[in-house]
Symmetry: C2
Subunit: 543 residues, 2 copies
């Protein structure tokens, strides 16, 4: 351990000296305790690339990963210990189950873990981490494994800790709307539970059937309701988390307001599991409103989309709950690859499509309000065509177009996915410039949460191709950085973008993050084993 600590410190301070130096070789993961320390290379490392199912390198050439030899290899004694702690059922070594847990949803990232642990409560999580820490065994927390940035699967042979058995709802207060539950609860189950109580989750996303609330919180998942209900930083009231040395941090408040000291829970929201494993969550849920209306519209240019958003915020301010967009390439893709989907606005393809959802408490008024808004938008020329869902089936079919896009892209072949926040007025410029940059080799498909300034930029090609990748990166990151955007709006950094943080965060801020991590480690002197880089319970799926 001492050697490890010494290496940590060397790294820490060397990274400071190296600040301002240009990247020569980017290393992430094991060779550094912290993924953010990625700006300098201390010793020569053999070139190593993981291969995806498709046999292509899935990282950019500059980003390679290496197993840190300081981490131990799992021994039979370790297995015995875990079996005593968790029972036979909690210790999974079955090849099929391990294969699934080692591979991400896209089949793009693949680890080689030999051990999956399934704790049933916080105490077991604490004991697992304490033991791994003492044995210097690397761990990766995993939830629903729905992430898109290589954050939820092992890279090498880490112990996978899945909190999926921790799925109890602990309390629900009907007056305050505060739900307290264990981290392994599947989002869709929480949505169903609340539905019966007359409430909804402030969070909804395409992966709701698999993703877990602990993972949602750990990755600060965004999704479809952020426009209305804000981010998890606003709605998560409390957390319980286990630090790498096994310390249980009780921050499980259920109060809407609490100004007593630093609000540390926010550090765990979106830190992708690198500071600890979230085990319980307390979240403020809004009452379910009875009246939901959905419109599907077409605009001929991006300027109209922006103006429509502004108008919608003004005219539908109180009830607007979603403002999603897709471009014509996205619509064509869905129509081609998803069974049973039809364009609600036939026959021609328009340049842009907008899905607007309102949620309120008065069916008659809300519908009239939305109809008046649509009429006015058509008359003023902002909207070329539009239709209001007449029943729940039609409403679902509208949402299916938007939510089916990730699946359609997977069916279309290889896909390079980028999840960007950009100033609204610049957002579509990137899409157009990317089309010029890529040429005819691949299709550039754009959709996303326009109301939140969040673009999902997808480059769809017949197969993965390094020449295409070289045209996308670093162009997409540089463009985003130049326009003060974020290279990860809601997906997180994961393995894919850990080394790219400098495109979105200032050097002083990154240095503070590194120091913070050391702060946590200093609290826990024997704790450098947590696999920082990709230890993400569950990433939010491109929603």
């Amino acid at each position: 351990m001492e050697k490890w600590r010494a290496a940590d410190r060397l790294l820490k301070f060397s990274s400071r000296f190296a600040s301002g130096t240009k990247l020569t070789c980017t290393i992430i993961n094991y060779d550094h305790t912290h993924p953010l320390v990625s700006e300098c290379c201390f010793f020569p490392i053999p070139f190593y690339c993981c291969k995806s199912k498709q046999g292509k390198y899935f990282y950019s050439v500059a980003t390679t990963v290496h197993r840190n030899p300081l981490f131990s290899i799992i021994s039979p004694d370790d297995i015995s210990y875990f079996k005593t702690l968790l029972g036979e059922r909690g210790v999974v070594q079955d090849a099929l189950a391990l294969d699934a847990a080692n591979t991400d949803w896209m089949g793009k990232y693949r680890g080689s873990s030999k051990l999956l642990l399934q704790p049933k409560n916080t105490e077991e999580v604490s004991q697992i981490l304490k033991y791994c820490n003492s044995r210097c065994l690397a761990v990766v927390p995993q939830g629903g494994n729905t992430g898109l940035v290589g954050g939820s699967v092992p890279v090498f042979d880490e112990v996978i800790i899945n909190v999926g058995l921790m799925r109890n709802i602990l309390s629900f207060d009907k007056v305050s709307g505060v739900l307290v539950c264990e981290a392994g609860c599947i989002l869709e189950n929480l949505i169903s539970f609340l539905d019966d109580e007359g409430f909804i989750m402030p969070l909804d996303l395409g992966a709701k059937g698999s993703c877990q609330i602990g993972g949602n919180v750990s990755t600060n998942a965004g999704g479809l309701r952020l426009l209305r209900y804000g981010s998890l930083h606003g709605s998560v009231l409390g957390l319980e988390a286990v630090l790498a040395n096994g310390t249980v941090l009780d921050m499980l408040g259920t109060l809407r307001k609490d100004n007593t000291g630093y609000d540390l829970k926010h550090l765990f929201i979106g830190s992708e599991g690198s500071l600890g494993i979230v085990t319980k969550v307390s979240i403020l849920t809004p009452p379910k409103l009875s009246s939901v209306n959905i419109a599907f519209l077409a605009c001929e240019d991006y300027t109209s989309c922006q103006k429509l958003l502004l108008e919608a915020k003004k005219k539908l301010g109180g009830i607007l709950s979603a403002f999603e967009f897709l471009d014509s390439d996205a619509m064509s893709l869905v129509l081609k690859h998803l069974d049973g989907v039809r364009n609600p606005l036939p026959p021609s393809i328009h340049n842009f499509y907008i899905l607007i959802e309102t949620t309120g408490s008065n069916e008659t008024f809300d519908k009239e309000n939305l109809e008046a808004f649509l009429l006015h938008s058509v008359e003023s020329g902002l909207v070329a065509n539009g239709v209001l869902a007449q029943d729940i089936n039609q409403a679902s079919s509208f949402w299916h177009i938007r939510e089916g896009l990730p699946e359609a892209l997977m069916k279309a072949g290889a896909v390079y996915k980028y999840d960007l926040s950009l100033p609204l007025e610049k957002m579509y410029d990137l899409v157009e410039e990317m089309r010029v940059q890529i040429g005819p080799a691949a299709k550039v498909v754009a959709y996303g949460h326009l109301g939140d300034g969040n673009l999902h930029l997808n480059i769809s090609a017949p197969a993965y191709d390094d020449n295409i990748l070289a045209k996308i990166e670093p162009f997409v990151y540089e463009w985003t950085s130049k326009n003060r955007g974020s290279i990860s709006a809601e997906h997180g950094l994961g393995l894919m973008k850990a080394a790219k943080i400098h495109y979105s965060k200032s050097p002083e801020t990154v240095r503070l993050m590194i120091d913070f991590d050391y702060c946590v480690f200093e609290l826990l002197p024997d704790t450098s084993c947590l696999d920082d880089n990709h230890s993400i319970i569950c990433l939010c799926l491109s929603a």
Copy 2:
């Protein structure tokens, strides 16, 4: 500096060893680098008590403060340096101005600073802090000085840094609603600016005419709109802050979503200036909605108030923007001490009064909706009586009752103020138990943001009296802690409650806060001068 650092470390680790030990003597402020390290006493310290204007001790007996002799005394050379840096106007030594800056709004906390600095931009803030750090001069950031917990004024002779001259609005984006401004902007000026643009601040509070946005953010001010628009953790999109060694931390993003690394800005929101001085703020502002309706109601018991809140959330969910309450003692106090105020529901005094505000986009529907809700509430027996404001003057008069309470309390004599978050169903139990506890010596007056679970508990007496204080504390903190409440919902800890943090936060969490502070200090090896304990730019007033 080395000696200082060594003392820091001793303190840090000793505090760990002392965890679990019972408080014997509570020290806050200078004798410890960090206010949170308040659980043990390392060396004998002469007893010292500050006296308020009224000549009474304003801290509880166990809480005393001492000037740390390691801090330097301001010299003529220091004054010369600051005059060169800021010009004559930026260096205030005038007795009258210093007296105002040394005294808090309630006249309860009083420092003896000899120097008030007024930087005009971030660079000057940075230079001031860098210099103070190198000279080991203690500083206290101050904004509108409207705080209620002794956080915004010096305790001894700290240099006061007031960012009130940094009051430029830097940008406003009408599509996204993102406002970027300097920290010294007065909240009311921002509200006026946005009003012209068709937007509102997500934050409103009684002190808006004086308090500054940097202070609001630093103290995570709550106020009147939290029910609708959530806390500043949700609406602040970015910050610029200057750390104690002068490092400028650019976290001034304007994006709604950004998941790239730890979201460090949240540490500055509510850290009461102890980690750095906020110099710029980027905030998401909602569109102004045209229709505002206000009702003033009476309930006969607290259970009805709770049920009414639940009903309001369900029936007015989309448009509910405030749900405030006051009890009969609060109403009597306002009627007695504020000129021109009358009870909208005469002639008798009811047990509880509720102010409900809705904000929506359709005047006709919203009014009908609120009327129907009121009618139903009266019919079901939840509401004893009620009135809907017929014009803006009547609406203002309703709000004046609620907002005028702090002023009425000040006029009534001495007041002990407590700002608590409590589980809704328990909230009023505390008020009733406190009445039994205090007896006839003082009046217990309760009001607050019922919709947020935030009680403002006030004990109003003819004069400050240690016997009364002894009946209130630690009873009020113990009761709150026992019921998993927060001893500071929105006012912050300040000098008043820094040593009380353990009532609301677990030992592990407090220890992490301490370690985090050291992390920041380790980033800045020469930085222990920042006056951690009470360095709050501007506390939110009891709104």
